[in-house]
Symmetry: C2
């Protein structure tokens, strides 16, 4: 067992099984993973072959049984029980089949709101403003306005439009109407109506896969190949040396280098008339490899944005909703004012974005589509937010995260030929392996032992457990991880 092998900070933690399940766990969880077939098992294999006749399904790993999955445990169609530290690409907030979620639609009013999905921008239901206020704005990172959307890509796409609209409104001047030439030229995709504006993004970023967001995504070639794109500025995002406390000066220099490039690029693009209307950035580059940057980096980034009248959009689609131990990861950065826009989706269950009054278009029908979100998702989120608050889940995430991080650091010390650069906040954690092949091998072996984790970037392992992942789940994960590392070393 890993607890026998580890020294240091975790020497005195109780053994697996001796921890009582606390109030934050979903009742009815199994005691641990249990693997009864190779993964994928025969039933999954059959279904994968079937699905593959209907569409390109090469990404499917297994078929799950969502009737049986519970809490932090995903159960597949072959009866394999997995501890899930990846949670549907980071999108399950409080575990599978949480009783508070299962009962939401027992309420007739909520079921009807789900079934009669309205065009929220035209005929919303009677409790829509109250739900936006009491559910979404109750967890807003200091921003007074919120729009709901369908998914992460569509949240960013619409937030990008808000950045462009606000930038042009400022250029045009308050209360100045669209010119006739703007009205006609935009209809054929030409300036000045369709202006030569740009957004600055970062190498390694992931903001989505629709064409606007894809122009700001630079994580993997397979996401981008063959799709036409836009000549927009792309700066380098800091790549730190770990452990942070031993590399302070180098990492500060890295911050400065990247920030200088940001400012250079803005000046260069502005000079050629392709003005930078906004900077879009993740608080931790997730798909791109869990790349962190310091609070100072983000503070200075915001100053640069303000100086050049570009909006600052922080994309919290993956980092948001509590995974880092704060509701929003950028709350760690102590920015001098909130960002202009914060986008969300995944664990928030609904897409959308918070924004300043400056980012609110003067005219209706500009940030608009048929559905503009889904009341059914907001009712589910209401239950999630209630559970987060009542059960102090952010505190739980910090406790679990501390345990997990200490364990990862310990394993990194024991296996310095395999692992390095343990990092992250809350239970939003990752560790680098020494190469891509090794990373994939470790993830595969973990899966065969009943633990689902994720990969990101070229050679990182990322953990994205739910907010009800507790210390005892961390111990199980660390134990299995330790077994796999001994196996591959």
């Amino acid at each position: 067992m890993w607890s026998r092998q580890l020294n240091g900070v975790l020497k005195n933690v109780p053994k697996i099984g001796s921890l009582r399940t606390t109030a934050t766990a979903v009742p009815g969880e199994p005691k641990g993973p249990n693997i009864v077939t190779a993964v994928p098992g025969p039933a999954s294999k059959k279904l994968i072959a079937d699905l593959n006749t209907i569409n390109q399904s090469g990404s499917v790993q297994l078929f799950a049984d969502y009737d049986k999955s519970i809490g932090n445990y995903l159960i597949d169609v072959d009866g394999n029980v997995f501890l899930d530290a990846f949670t549907q690409i980071s999108s399950i907030p409080i575990g599978y089949n949480h009783p508070e979620l299962l009962k939401v639609f027992h309420e007739d009013h909520k079921l009807k709101a789900l079934v009669n999905r309205p065009a929220l921008g035209v005929y919303p239901g009677k409790d829509w403003p109250e739900k936006l206020r009491n559910v979404l704005l109750s967890v807003s990172p200091g921003l007074p306005q919120v729009m709901t959307m369908m998914c992460g890509s569509c949240s960013n796409e619409n937030a990008y439009k808000a950045l462009f609209i606000s930038y042009r409104a400022k250029e045009r001047g308050e209360n100045v109407d669209f010119s006739e030439l703007e009205n006609t030229s935009c209809m054929v995709n030409k300036p000045p109506g369709s202006p030569n504006l740009t957004l600055l993004s970062f190498h390694g970023a992931f903001h989505g896969r629709t064409m606007g967001t894809l122009a700001t995504t630079h994580s993997k070639a397979i996401h981008k190949l063959d799709v036409p794109s836009l000549d927009w500025p792309i700066a380098h995002f800091p790549r730190y040396k770990y452990p942070l406390e031993e590399n302070v000066r180098e990492n500060q220099a890295e911050d400065q280098k990247c920030l200088a490039e940001v400012e250079d690029l803005i000046e260069k693009y502005n000079k050629k008339g392709t003005y930078v209307a906004g900077i879009v950035v993740e608080p931790i580059q997730s798909e791109g490899g869990d790349n962190e940057a310091s609070p100072e980096f983000f503070q200075e980034l915001q100053r640069i944005a303000k100086k050049h009248r570009a909006g600052l959009l922080i994309d919290e689609v993956q980092t948001g909703a509590g995974a880092t131990g704060k509701m929003w990861c950028h709350e760690y950065f102590n920015l001098e004012s909130p960002p202009d826009i914060v986008t969300f989706s995944k664990k928030m269950l609904t897409g959308g974005f918070f924004h300043t009054l400056d980012m609110r278009p003067k005219h209706p029908y500009r940030i608009f589509n048929t559905w503009l979100g889904d009341p059914g998702k907001l009712f589910l989120l209401e239950a999630v937010v209630k559970v987060i608050k009542q059960q102090n889940l952010l505190e739980q995430v910090q406790k679990t995260g501390n345990r997990l991080k200490a364990g990862l650091l310990d394993l990194e010390k024991q296996h310095s030929n395999l692992l390095n650069s343990t990092r992250g906040r809350g239970s939003f954690l990752s560790v680098n392996t020494t190469d891509h092949g090794l990373r994939d091998k470790i993830l595969e072996k973990l899966k065969q032992k009943g633990v689902i984790a994720g990969g990101c970037g070229d050679h990182a392992i990322r953990l994205r457990p739910s907010l009800v992942f507790q210390e005892q789940h961390a111990d199980i994960f660390l134990d299995k991880f330790s077994q796999v590392l001994n196996d591959v070393k």
Copy 2:
């Protein structure tokens, strides 16, 4: 009453109220509209003011009570009862609170599929292939493959990517891998990895509001202003003279002119190296003004697409799911083979697209996102498809549509100074008014009389009733419309 005023085809139809409610109606509908306040009423006004503190809500018309709304009747928070011939921008398939929809999530398995929303591209639930086959492919317009998505824009965005990917795969040659230069250049948005490909769209088209789809949308300036766009080819879509039977030669010439422009544009764009990978078109341009084109136009468009190796995408987001009296409007066109891609959303409740095997990417993770749809929506669609089939709703739509169209033609004859160009298929119908202001005035007066209809283009009135809109509902609509026309004439 209109039935006393009208001559011709409708002389012998039974009066309102004398028709029995048939099996296709939702039980419990009121007998007709009932307006008790100005619209919006005081309760709606208060909620609009409240919502407006949270986001830009200038598009909101009223607040609805979805607990009380039923069948074809939308009931608002002031107790006003509207006959709904617009159905949430054409997105309610079988009326409000249909009993078959209300019972879907009483089934534990379906409720759990809704609550545990998976990453469908990685860990789908056990019945996912069966549901794709028995629900979606059971209504496919001859296409063997289907992908699910979240909404109309995201369905088109992803379908556009499929067009680009397939075009480049053919250019590159079967089994030829991405070059090193493609892999690196795409990461910074540059060719050859991000190639200079284009899509041809039509003036007046609407395909969505995200950046890729917005580049192919040309319906209203307010949708496009301030958002950067792409230099892609835009051809004219036929604008017919009505009645069609009296303008055959002119309309054929219009087809030829538009088709010649399509071919010219493709040749011009191909010549300058910005190859046209696809043509995207609505079977009836909906937001742009309900502009129809003939089957011959679409047949020839498909031939041009094939000749130039461009994919043909038919966007049935608004026209699909039975509104025209066939499941898919393009089934009226007798194309020599199915289109390469057909996109859907709205009344289908889930977004997505059907496609040929040619449009299926060879590699996984190319048409991909976290959720890739929502099993909960597919369960609702399953109930809708069952009701459509069991109750022969396509036949009902044709019957209702015949009644509505005959009535509109009659009113057009009586009010030729106000109305012209009645057109459409099934109950997907529209009529032009003589100008924009008149159109808006008529829609407003209809609303104050308890009928919700929609506007589209500059001066068209469009009807988008649900599939359970019956002859008696048509009669109520025509009666109110007649009253309004007498009022404004």
